[in-house]
Amino acid sequence: MKGWSAVYYRELLILRRRLSRMLASMSVSPLLYLIAFGYAMGGHVRVEGYSYTEFLIPGLVAMSSMTQAFGIASEINISRFYWHIFEEFQAAPISNRAYVCGEVLAGMTRALIAVAVILTLGLFFGVFLSYTPLFWLAVLLNSFIFASLAVAVAMLVKSHADQAMVSNFIITPMAFLGGTFFPVERLPEWAQGILFLLPLTHAAKSVRAAAFGQTPSLFSYLLLFLAGCICFTIALRCVNRARD
């Protein structure tokens, strides 16, 4: 496992260099959602006994932790296709596991920063929820899944266009349908059945339950953990595929 810290350190250096730009970019979408859906459209709407803004923030936390963790895929692709930095990792005496660990941790770090941005924005909208260890555990598991998936996808795609396609067909639909903006229970049963299979649905439910001070479902946590382990294993196997 030696070497994971070097991979992670390199990502942290880049993150530090871009931090102000990243914070600004991480704030834009959640801010727009909060203004449009939370304040303007949902100002008088109550969902499951909470104001819509209160309902929305945990959903945004789950969604942003997913998209930001998955965003590491683009970074890896830029390193791989444009700067050829991936060769530097391949030529180093580090195992695939160390490489994947470093990149996954970088993805999770980005996700945590994005969550911190949303929670800060929430304060400006007067939302004070309960950020317990279970809340953070759900965020970590969710970002673990999507950062691992990101590494796997980054190793498999052959171009940026492929990468964009994965985002359009998997990440975006999940972001909108996985319980971010409305309770999944409002959809027909067949649709609920499909959405039940998506990790984001369980992440959103768990984050929301923990934020509302309720007891989240243990099953959801187990499922997130299992999905994370599967994605991580796939990522490990995909690293060799990136070699020609």
Partner: protein, 288 residues
Amino acid sequence: MIKIRNLTKYYKNIHALKGICLHVPEGELFAYLGPNGAGKTTTIRILTGLTQLSSGDAWLNGFHIHQHTLDAKRQCGLVPQSVNLDQELTVYENLDVHGRLFHMPSEKRKEKIHELLTYIDMEDRKDTPARQLSGGMKRRVMIARSLVHSPKVLFLDEPTVGLDAGIRRRIWALIKKIQQNGTTIFLTTHYIEEAEFLADRVAFLDEGKIVANDTPQKLMARLGEWAIDRIADNEMNTVYFETREAAGTYSPEQHESFTLRRVNLEDAFLSLTGKKVSGKAPGQKEKS
């Protein structure tokens, strides 16, 4: 130091390497010469763990590249053909990340980076982001980066490609200096003068096969010492002579222009393969 036995590589239906056998002893500067697509980069990529071999064996400092991959990787430094510096990181950070990837302790890493920046004469540029460096400086930083972990073998894949003549010579001087410090160097190039100036031994690679492997002097001596390039009827031929005196006896035909010059490695390659290192031969070859 480097031992290769029957190395083959297939890319789907393309047979890129066809049973390469090589031995590069410790401290040697070995040049691997061939036209584009001959398999030079593929060989380096296999030896440094970037590409998987199809069959055969290779050892770096006694470590089998497949069976003891991580140990084999520790033995070598790599300067790839395309610039692969982290453009957003500074010169120092690029070297530092490399040292960390090779598990170097903090103090040793700092010391070595300082030493190498002085070595490549770029101590004053250590805090400059890589993207702000010139092409020649980037190459020097890449060479320094490959030396951070003190490798036994250094692989240089076309290290001066795209650089102007002055910078190229500066890089050559740096490569010679590295060899004098005891590092074995495996260099690929299609610049004839680069191989002639730097190499202790040269292997010619053509279509995935080694067609000759000897010292530059011996490879060239097979043809003689002097050559005359004759151009007649839009065709160029080369005639080779053992001595300058023998070349002096050459009598040109009518409407023929000719140039006398010393034999070089390009001639040796051409005589063995019928091709130029940098492309197809323009005309038929002759030997006197």
